[in-house]
Structure formats: structure tokens, C-alpha cells
């Protein structure tokens, strides 16, 4: 069986991602389109939330990916710090803008839902606040990559930033359980016994969650391929300058 570490080789990674990226993109498009059309057009309004319940099909998958993107960046950063595989550092870099976009979608859709349901666009609630800090960490992470010219130094420093930011990614996930004084409700989906949500909502929500996961995979693979090419272009430019 092929070892996972084989894909730290850029040539092998390009070969694998060459077919995996379009396949996951197509599956993501199909799942998201089905989930959103089902959720938007064919689910009933909730007896308390009215039609705003339809926002859940965007808010929950985006929030899930916002946290999972950071978790993926953490694993990739640790691999870089321990094993110095460039592909892992570049994959973490590629995930930054995607995670930031997902966090922004979660914050905006949450605010739009919160205004009619809680009577406020924003509240300094533990989960909302930790999500805002996570978004700022994403911006800092992207800015740090752009600010440092030497790629290895940038990978080292952003990996450290990623380790620190992981505290807020974990807080974003578990804040609603740690602190009970917040406005944000507990988990909508859980493996614990008891019904939290009817299948009429759960089925399209699961489709959207799977679709967002595959969209993230496709975009990370595409971004990593671009970063590998950009790295090779920088190396060629340096060689060209040295010759001149």
C-alpha cells in the first residue's frame, strides 16, 4: 500500500490532485446544488423561526468548514514543522483564504438570522466572539504569508501562528458548551440520544455539509497545485537572475 508520505513529493501530489480535484469539485457542485434547492424550495417554514430556518443550510456547513479548515491547517503546519514537507506547508497556505471565506459566511449568515430571531445583529456571546477572533486569525495568517519573502521562514512563522490560533478554533467549536450565558444555542446536530432536528431539515443539511466539505477539498487541492507552480516559478526566476 502506498504511504501517505509519498504525496509529499510534488510530482506525485500533482498526479493525484490532477484527477481528485475535478472529481471532488463536481461532487461538491452536485451535493450543494441538491441540498440548497431542497432546503430553499422544499422545506416548510419552522413553527417558531419561520422561513429563517432555511439559513441553516448555509450557516452550519460554513461554520463547520471554518473550524475544520483551521484543523486541517494545524495538521499540515505540524507536518511542516516536524517533517519539513513543502507540500504540507503549501496546502496550509492554500486553505487560509478558503477558511476565511467560510468564517465570513458563518458570521454574516448568523447576523442575518440573529437580527429577527434574537433582535440583534451582533452580541458579544462566547461563540460569536470566538468566531470573530478566528476570522481575525485567518486574516493575520494570510497577511503573514504575504509579508515574508522567504518561503521557508513564512511557513515556520505561519505554522506557529496556526498553533496559537487553534485555541480559538477549539473555542469556536466548544464555546456554547463551556459558557451557558451566551445567546447561541447548543449543537443542532449531535450523536447523543434525543431528537434535535427533524429529518425534513436534517437530510438537506447533511447534503450541504458533505458538499461544503468536498468544495473545501477541491479548492485546497487547486490552491496547493497553484502554490507548487508558483514555488517552481520563483525557483526558475532566481536561477535566471543568478545567470544574468
Amino acid at each position: 500500500m502506498a504511504s501517505l508520505w509519498e504525496y509529499a513529493n510534488p510530482v506525485k501530489f500533482m498526479r493525484l490532485s490532477g484527477w481528485l480535484m475535478p472529481v471532488s469539485a463536481l461532487l461538491a457542485a452536485g451535493l450543494i446544488a441538491t441540498g440548497l434547492v431542497w432546503g430553499f424550495f422544499f422545506t416548510e417554514a419552522d413553527y417558531r423561526q419561520g422561513a429563517t430556518v432555511k439559513i441553516i443550510f448555509l450557516h452550519v456547513p460554513a461554520a463547520l468548514m471554518a473550524i475544520n479548515a483551521w484543523a486541517m491547517m494545524l495538521i499540515a503546519s505540524l507536518i511542516w514543522l516536524v517533517r519539513r514537507h513543502h507540500v504540507s506547508a503549501l496546502a496550509a497556505k492554500a486553505a487560509g483564504p478558503i477558511g476565511a471565506t467560510m468564517t465570513l459566511i458563518a458570521l454574516i449568515t448568523g447576523a442575518i438570522w440573529g437580527q429577527p430571531m434574537w433582535g440583534t445583529w451582533w452580541e458579544w456571546d462566547p461563540r460569536l466572539t470566538s468566531f470573530l477572533i478566528l476570522f481575525l486569525f485567518y486574516l493575520g495568517y494570510i497577511a503573514l504569508w504575504s509579508a515574508i519573502e522567504d518561503a521557508d521562514t513564512a511557513a515556520d512563522l505561519t505554522a506557529i501562528l496556526c498553533l496559537v490560533g487553534s485555541v480559538f478554533a477549539a473555542l469556536s467549536r466548544y464555546a456554547a458548551l463551556f459558557w451557558n450565558q451566551g445567546l447561541h444555542q447548543g449543537a443542532s446536530l449531535s450523536v447523543a440520544p434525543g431528537t434535535r432536528m427533524d429529518w425534513a431539515y436534517k437530510a438537506p443539511l447533511y447534503l450541504c455539509m458533505a458538499g461544503f466539505g468536498l468544495l473545501f477539498l477541491a479548492l485546497v487541492l487547486a490552491g496547493t497545485r497553484t502554490e507548487i507552480r508558483a514555488r517552481r516559478a520563483r525557483a526558475l526566476m532566481t536561477r535566471e537572475r543568478a545567470r544574468a
Partner: protein, 50 residues
């Protein structure tokens, strides 16, 4: 269109903003990939000629 009742503006806004942001992310990713691929191809042609 489904009947969104009194929350039509909120639901429509949430979908428009989210899908707009996802579309912008995909377009940015595609445009950057195309630019980098072209730059690399030009550099490779130059260095193999030289």
C-alpha cells in the same frame, strides 16, 4: 419561489451574500491558477531556450 413570509428579505440576503462569496472565492482561485500557470510556462520556455 417559496413563500418566505415576513422573513423574505433576510433569507434572500443570506443566500445572495453566501453564494456571492463562494463564487468570488472560486473565481479568484481559478484566475490565480491561470495566471501562475501562464507565468510558469513562459519561464520554462525561456529557461529551456537559454
Amino acid at each position: 419561489m417559496p413563500d418566505l413570509g415576513p422573513y423574505a428579505a433576510e433569507v434572500t440576503l443570506a443566500y445572495a451574500v453566501s453564494l456571492g462569496l463562494i463564487a468570488a472565492l472560486i473565481l479568484w482561485s481559478w484566475a490565480r491558477a491561470r495566471r501562475v500557470r501562464r507565468e510558469l510556462a513562459a519561464l520554462e520556455t525561456r529557461t529551456t531556450r537559454g
